[in-house]
Amino acid sequence: MTNQEKGWKEIPPAGVCWKSSTQYLTGDWKTYKPIRDLEKCTRCLLCVLFCPDGAIHWKPEKEDIEFDYNFCKGCGICANECPVDAIEMKLDEET
């Protein structure tokens, strides 16, 4: 409990949430990081669909997939489900 926390007079009533969870970056949870081989990838989009955290995006303007490591928890579901083994889980050196 820090002094920066809002007091009871400042927060909206009835517990209405006032922050989107996209401000809470869960990416530092990961131990392993998914690395995609751009040549093997067929853009089937299964990884985009299966990711529990919605951390893999299809970018139509780039016609390609993008990994959002700010939210990726490193579970490896994407790597496990990729039908062409284009994703490898590598140890995340940054943390």
């Binding site: 949430c17 990961k30 669909l49 496990n80």
Partner: protein, 320 residues
């Protein structure tokens, strides 16, 4: 009755997520995937309500929320009553001209905790009254949020913290309650089972559930690596194995008529495709004790029940 919505993976991928990243679910949580995919199936203005449980807790830790939809949580055992109140309000407010929408869908999510046991009264009541809503059961087969305690949805032989495998007892001794069949017996206009690996089937069924005029029930198997003691990368794979072993076959009941779904059809057509339950059980720590000599007969029993229920389902579907 249904719009026969056609969609590609790209269509789904391009739809904005209504269940946003930044939630605190465990790494590898299949229920989270289920939330994402089901909310992709929504067709317009929707109000969502959740029962107390993993998905509610991880997605609404004040002041953060992962929900782009209007959303309410009240308690554990009453999500179907939540939905009843919302639906009744929408109906009357529309009649009195106080809301600007042509139609608002209502969707309720609960785990097996809030459905099979403590939640079944409210669910049964809401369905009997015929409220227009979709009820999605994300089944991780135990009260996961409070520490992996057994529920009516925990399968036979599984080790949980209140039905642990010990020296004398081999885990849960009771069978998994056939909740979807119970819903069919309520004359629910649409009831179905789904699995996240078969995402197209899942999203199609969710859309059908939303479109149905009246109550719809969707039972989704959602593996929990924490509670199932399985590899965090294998949660979606497990949801596939469950279907391939016929432990969790996929079907729909439209106005009480059972129809086998495409993921389970190949097995009905060629029984040799059916994988032995062992393959599913051996990759989960919660069934590890069954591989000891003194409990190995339980695996045979599981195989027998699975086969029996599968045959019964085929009969209901008009096959065999």
């Amino acid at each position: 009755m249904f719009s026969e919505w056609k969609f590609t993976a790209k269509d789904i991928a391009e739809k904005p997520d209504l269940f946003m990243p930044g939630h605190r679910a465990c790494a590898g949580c299949a229920p989270a995937t289920v939330m994402r995919l089901i909310t992709k199936a929504l067709r317009g203005p929707t109000i969502a309500t959740l029962a107390t449980g993993c998905m509610e807790v991880v997605s609404t830790i004040y002041p953060y929320t992962s929900w782009k939809l209007p959303w309410i949580h009240t308690a554990f055992e009453n999500v179907a009553a939540n939905a009843s109140g919302i639906e009744a309000a929408l109906k009357i407010l529309k009649k009195k001209g106080r809301i600007p929408y042509e139609h608002v869908d209502v969707i309720a999510f609960a785990g097996d905790g809030g459905t099979y046991d403590i939640g079944i009264q409210a669910l049964s009541g809401a369905v009997e009254r015929g409220h227009d809503f979709l009820y999605v059961l994300y089944d991780n087969e135990a009260y996961m949020n409070t520490g992996i305690q057994r529920s009516g949805g925990t399968p036979f032989g599984a080790s949980t913290t209140t039905s642990p495998a010990g020296t004398v007892m081999p885990g849960k001794l009771e069978y998994k309650k056939p909740i979807a069949d119970i819903m069919v017996a309520h004359d629910t206009p649409y009831a179905a089972t789904a699995s996240p690996y078969y995402w197209r089937d899942l999203i199609t069924k969710a859309r059908k559930g939303v479109e149905v005029n009246g109550p719809a029930f969707l039972h989704v198997l959602a593996p929990c690596p924490r509670g199932w003691r399985s590899d965090i990368s294998k949660s979606i794979e497990l949801s596939r194995l469950a279907v391939e072993t016929c432990i969790f076959p996929l079907w729909e009941a439209i106005k009480g008529e059972y129809v086998l779904s495409s993921p389970s059809k190949p097995i009905a057509l060629k029984p040799e495709r059916k994988k032995p339950v062992r393959e599913y059980l051996k990759v989960q720590g919660r069934f590890q004790h069954l591989f000891e000599p003194k409990f190995e007969h339980i695996i045979d029993e599981i195989q027998q029940i699975t086969d029996k229920r599968w045959q019964l389902l085929l009969k209901k579907c008009g096959i065999a």
